[in-house]
């Protein structure tokens, strides 16, 4: 298993297929193999990308560059320049307006195929791909800023907070903390200044949901932030956007300018006396800077490292002032909740976790990309219905839910409903909604080694268990894959993993061993086989495969 630096999404919508998208896809793979970037870049066929007249269409992430009208001869150019040398091939870039407005949405993977349409429910992606993100008029025409108007003119701040509490919305950034409760802490705290920070750092490998929302519907975030500001008494908002997301930064900046021109940001909005302004800051790049207190440190110009909590940001955050930190997707839910009411929101999803969730499907699954579905959908539905199953007729081995910090769930958990509570109980997490599907040709030990390498790299180095523990977990797993581990080391690994979960300073170190802990539980046999010098999948080259051993 590898974590890829880039994804090439080849549109697999019918119009593109008819124009030779499969050939383009195969050519990409061929060229990438030729440059020996197979382990770094993943070519994926995905659902319809939107501008069907411009096919075949390809999007390259994380940059989000869309190329259109591709001919076979263009592929080597893109691979050499864009993927190998890092230079975008300008002349092949998709230009908006070449095709009609309907198809000119933002780059995004929205899986429009009819098979999944009925399972999908769009709340946060309501406008993505449907309206022109650079046009505030179109946003307004689709009920945009109505919720803000309602809040400012009809509701008192505490009523807004109460609506969000009643909606049972939980933060979509990872921890699933109840948003209304979070706001209430900040609303209660007296201070001369308060802040709303939108967390758009999105460091989770392979995930790009926040990017899609920012690029597809930037005004929904502005509206959510302004409502949050009104609710808690903050007049300043900051969007902290991952530095690589240049297009997001541009789109958000344009949207903020437009909102200011329309008087939807700035002084005395809707004549209510409420002032709110938003600035954009771009992130330094480290995964840990997505952790809310590390993000605040980074905003203050310090080394991006988590702070000791308490105090929580809601009470003492940016520059020591009460600060609400919310994820992009969380904020995109706010306007619909205010407009349609908490009861409407609670009617979607499950009882304890209402609403929808945007999932990113990654790994060994036919339809990779983003979906928005009601909370509580099962893993089986995601993998086999929406995801179109596992490629090459291989078997399902496990799914890592919640991104790199999530746990791994085996076959027996395919019918588990996906929501914050249930997954936490199963030893995993819903996290930001990244869903990595792993087929049965992969070796558990090898997969875990890759996860641990990620955490060794991303640990900020502040606290002992994470800084020193991750390299030790990696070390023992390496010994396991080399056939030199002992039973005592396995026990030590368990104790260490538990210690990290119990004592690390922040969520990164606490959840780094989640995948390991779940695999120790669900794949004890496979690990025991490694101890005995066998790797059943044959991935660990220094060990015997089962068939050889027999």
């Amino acid at each position: 298993m590898a974590i890829y630096r880039s994804h090439v999404l080849v549109c697999g919508g019918t119009p593109c297929l008819l124009k030779g998208a499969r050939t383009i896809r195969d050519l990409f793979q061929q060229e990438i193999d030729r440059y020996q970037m197979t382990d770094e870049i993943r070519v994926v066929e995905t659902g319809c990308l939107g501008p069907c007249d411009e096919g075949p269409v390809v999007i390259i992430y994380p940059e989000g560059v869309m190329y259109s009208r591709l001919q076979p001869a263009d592929v080597p150019k893109i691979v050499e320049n864009h993927l190998y040398k890092g230079r975008v091939v300008e002349e092949l870039i998709y230009k908006e307006g070449k095709a009609g407005r309907e198809q000119s949405g933002p780059p995004g993977v929205t899986l429009e195929g009819e098979k999944y349409l009925d399972r999908q429910k769009r709340v946060v992606l309501r406008n993505c791909g449907r309206i022109n993100p650079d046009s505030i008029e179109e946003y307004i025409a689709n009920h945009g800023y109505k919720a803000l108007g309602k809040a400012l003119t009809e509701l008192r701040p505490e009523e807004v907070v109460q609506m969000v509490i009643d909606s049972k919305l939980q933060g979509r950034g990872g921890a699933g903390f109840p948003t209304g409760l979070k706001w209430s802490f900040t609303a209660k705290t007296q201070a001369d200044r308060k802040y709303i920070v939108c967390n758009a750092d999105e460091g989770e490998p392979g995930t790009f949901k926040d990017r899609l929302i920012m690029e597809g519907d930037p005004h929904s975030i502005i509206e959510g932030m302004a409502i949050a500001g009104y609710a808690v008494g903050a007049e300043e908002g900051i969007i902290y956007i991952r530095g690589e997301y240049q297009l997001s930064i541009e789109r958000m900046a344009r949207a903020i300018r437009q909102a200011n021109q329309y008087g939807l940001l700035g002084k005395d909005i809707f004549g209510s006396g409420f002032n709110f302004q938003i600035q954009i800051r771009s992130g330094a790049g480290a995964y840990i800077c997505g952790e809310e207190t590390a993000l605040l440190e980074s905003l203050e110009g310090n080394r991006g490292e988590p702070r000791v909590k308490p105090p929580y940001p809601g009470v003492a955050g940016l520059w020591g002032k009460p600060t609400v930190v919310n994820n992009v997707e969380t904020l995109a839910n706010i306007a619909p909740i205010i407009l349609n009411g908490p009861a409407w929101f609670r009617s979607i999803g499950t009882e304890s976790c209402p609403g929808t969730k945007v999932f990113t499907m990654l790994g060994d699954i036919n339809n990779q990309g983003l979906i928005e579905v009601p909370m509580g959908i099962t893993l089986r539905e995601i993998v086999y219905e929406i995801g179109g199953g596992i490629p090459g007729g291989k078997g399902f081995k496990m799914a890592q839910t919640g991104g790199t910090s999530g746990g791994c769930l085996p076959m027996e958990y395919l019918d588990l409903p996906m929501d914050y509570d249930t997954l936490a109980k199963a030893g995993s997490a819903l996290g930001s909604g990244a869903m990595l599907i792993i087929d049965d040709t992969h070796c558990i030990v090898d997969v875990l080694k890759n996860f641990m390498r990620f955490f060794c790299h991303e640990s900020c180095g502040k606290c002992t268990p994470c800084r020193e523990g991750n390299p030790r977990l990696y070390e023992i797993l390496t010994a396991l894959s080399a056939g030199t581990a002992t039973q005592a080391q396995i026990q030590l690994m368990k104790d260490l993993a538990r210690t990290m979960q119990l004592t690390a300073l922040c969520g990164l170190g606490q959840s780094a061993p989640n995948s390991l802990m779940t695999c120790l539980r669900f794949y004890a046999d496979e690990i025991a086989e490694h101890l005995n010098g066998e790797c059943p999948t044959g991935v660990c080259k220094s060990l015997a495969t089962k068939s050889e051993a027999v």
Binding site: R303, V308, T464, P471, T499
Partner: protein, 581 residues
């Protein structure tokens, strides 16, 4: 204050709301092991050694940072707690050189003590996962040994928050994290003032003073050398702690006896040149005050402070008194006046200082500090190094008799003694300036307003018509505040005393470990006790100083004084050149 009830291992205790679990446990008689925690600093809670169970919490909680709440049930000694603490410690140890027998902190090391306390008896993680780094011996005062660093960041805290210098900071990430001078260069190539406060709070041997003990042993063993030693005012109230005595004992007589037993030819007192400093500096101040010189005048006896102003406020160097520090005045006189008097070739005189300070090691190496043609001072031992030498010599400090200093530099006053505490130089100066200017006897010699550990103190003195406003700062963070006031034109003081280290020299970077603010307070009390116990309390009453002027110097600020006792400063800037230092 609102009190809350919490249960610690079954005992109920009442503590103020907002107290940490650590404090609550202490009240219940339980000392939770800590490593990164330091009672004087902001809590960083990074080592994760102090973890405890809080009933109902998902994870273990760091006792040093977690506030209690009413009804909290805390368990400090469960199997889960013991295992977690031990594993976190083992993780640290696995990347730590197992070098105790060769280590300056052997038996005085918090990590070592913790390994014993938590019952570590075997290494379960074998290999090093952290890249090794060479020692940094670039500065005159300090050695950094990054391999021994356990990343508790106390040094960073003291350097940034207390001293406002910011010479060192965490760099790199993950397992490659290190505490580094900015930009990863040598410590000598950043604006480090060599105060050694970092070495005072380091729990291990990752920052410590440059060793001068070997050169002192060699000088003592050299029959050609006449080895004289001077003891700074602050040593007499702290050296006992090196031998397990309670902080706050005055051990002047034992200190003299101990040094004599080590083999020094003469045991002198820096208090003598402290008195001399007051005469010179006092007259300099009177001169500036009456002849329109640069004011406020700022004291110059603290070498860490001098280096600080040279780096951070180089445009204000003319505010500094031109007086050398007492250590350097002593050295200059030892190799001139004393050499002549005793009939010894200055070349053969070896001057050793016992100082509470690491920056003194830097100061004695400054090129301008060799008035006789030889370095004024040849070796500087910190209080800790003296402790080490006495232990090596098998001298049982607590059983020593009290002995007297040698003449002529052993005759001192209380004014010289109080140099060891913040406010002392100011108080000593005022005692003399008042009487010199007004020609009247002070009604009371005690200027209580400038005493104590508080960061910035102010007082006003009426010199019979001329009002003098003075300020006293200790710790460079406070010095910075005063300098910024001067910069903004808001300082209406005429005279300022600045000491680099918190509490003054009694809290210096070369003092016994631990040195905390509580311990500082006890040493300060001891200093004023020593002052009050002396027959003479004013520098200008020191008969040996009077003789010195009569026999040798002539008059304060005279030509000889200028040659031997005064100095000049160097503009350094925040980003020093490689060669400066």
């Amino acid at each position: 204050m609102e009190m809350v009830k919490v249960t610690v291992d079954g005992q109920t205790v009442e503590v103020p709301n907002g107290s940490t679990i650590l404090a609550a446990a202490k009240k219940a008689g339980i000392k939770i092991p800590t490593l990164c925690y330091h009672e004087d600093f902001n809590v960083k809670a990074m080592c994760r050694i102090c973890v405890v169970e809080v009933v109902g919490a998902r994870t273990l909680q760091a006792a040093c940072s977690q506030p209690v709440s009413d009804g909290m049930v805390i368990i400090t000694n469960s199997p889960a707690v013991r295992q977690a603490r031990k594993i976190n410690l083992e993780l640290l140890l696995s990347n730590h050189p197992q070098d105790c027998l060769n280590c300056v902190r052997n038996q005085r090391c918090e990590l070592q003590a913790l390994a014993d306390q938590l019952g570590v008896q075997q290494q379960r993680f074998h290999t090093k996962t952290r890249p090794e780094s060479p020692k940094d011996e670039s500065t005159a005062a300090l050695v950094r040994d990054p391999d021994k660093c356990i990343l508790c960041r106390r040094c960073v805290e003291v350097c940034h928050e207390v001293q406002s210098v910011g010479a060192i900071a965490p760099g790199n990430r993950g397992i490659n994290t290190q505490i580094l001078p900015a930009g990863g260069v040598d410590l000598n190539d950043v604006a480090c003032v060599q105060c050694g406060q970092c070495s005072l709070v380091c729990p291990v041997a990752a920052i410590y003073e440059q060793d001068h003990t070997e050169r002192v042993w060699a000088a003592l063993a050299d029959p050609e050398k006449h080895v004289v030693v001077q003891t700074a005012p602050a040593i007499r109230v702290s050296i006992g702690e090196e031998f397990g005595m309670e902080p706050g004992q005055v051990t002047t007589g034992q200190l003299v006896a101990a040094l004599r037993r080590l083999g020094f030819d003469r045991v002198f007192d820096t208090d003598f040149t402290a008195d001399l400093t007051i005469i010179e500096e006092g007259h300099e101040f009177i001169d500036r005050l009456t002849n329109g010189g640069v004011l406020p005048m700022i004291t110059s006896c603290s070498p860490g402070w001098i280096k600080f102003i040279e780096h951070f406020y180089p445009e204000y160097l003319d505010h500094l008194s031109t007086c050398k520090s007492p250590q350097q005045m002593f050295g200059a006189l030892a190799k001139t006046y004393y050499a002549e008097k005793a009939g010894i070739d200055p070349k053969n005189i070896y001057v050793v200082s016992i100082m509470p300070c690491t920056a003194k090691k830097f100061e004695c190496g400054r090129p301008e500090m060799s008035a006789s043609g030889y370095p004024d001072v040849d070796a500087v031992l910190t209080t800790r190094e003296l402790g080490k030498m006495l232990r090596q010599a098998g001298i049982v400090f607590s059983e020593l008799p009290e002995e007297e200093y040698d003449d002529p530099f052993g005759i001192t006053t209380g004014a010289g003694v109080i140099f060891g505490a913040s406010g002392g130089v100011m108080e000593a100066a005022l005692r003399t300036v008042y009487e010199v200017v007004t020609k009247e006897t002070l009604p009371s010699v005690d200027f209580n307003a400038v005493r104590g550990i508080e960061g910035i103190k102010e007082a006003e003195v009426d010199l019979k018509g001329t009002k003098v406003k003075v300020a006293v700062a200790n710790g460079l963070g406070n010095a910075r505040k005063l300098m910024d006031l001067i910069k903004e034109g808001k300082a209406d003081y005429q005279f300022i005393e600045i000491m680099c280290c918190p509490g003054g020299c009694i809290g210096g970077g070369g003092q016994p470990i631990p040195t905390t603010n509580e311990i500082r307070k006890k040493r300060i009390e001891a200093i004023y006790k020593a002052d009050a116990g002396l027959p003479l309390r004013k520098s200008h009453e020191n008969p040996a100083v009077k003789t010195l002027y009569e026999e040798y110097l002539g008059k304060p600020l005279g030509e000889k004084s200028h040659q031997l006792l005064h100095t000049h400063y160097t503009k350094r800037g925040k980003y020093p050149e490689k060669s400066v230092g």
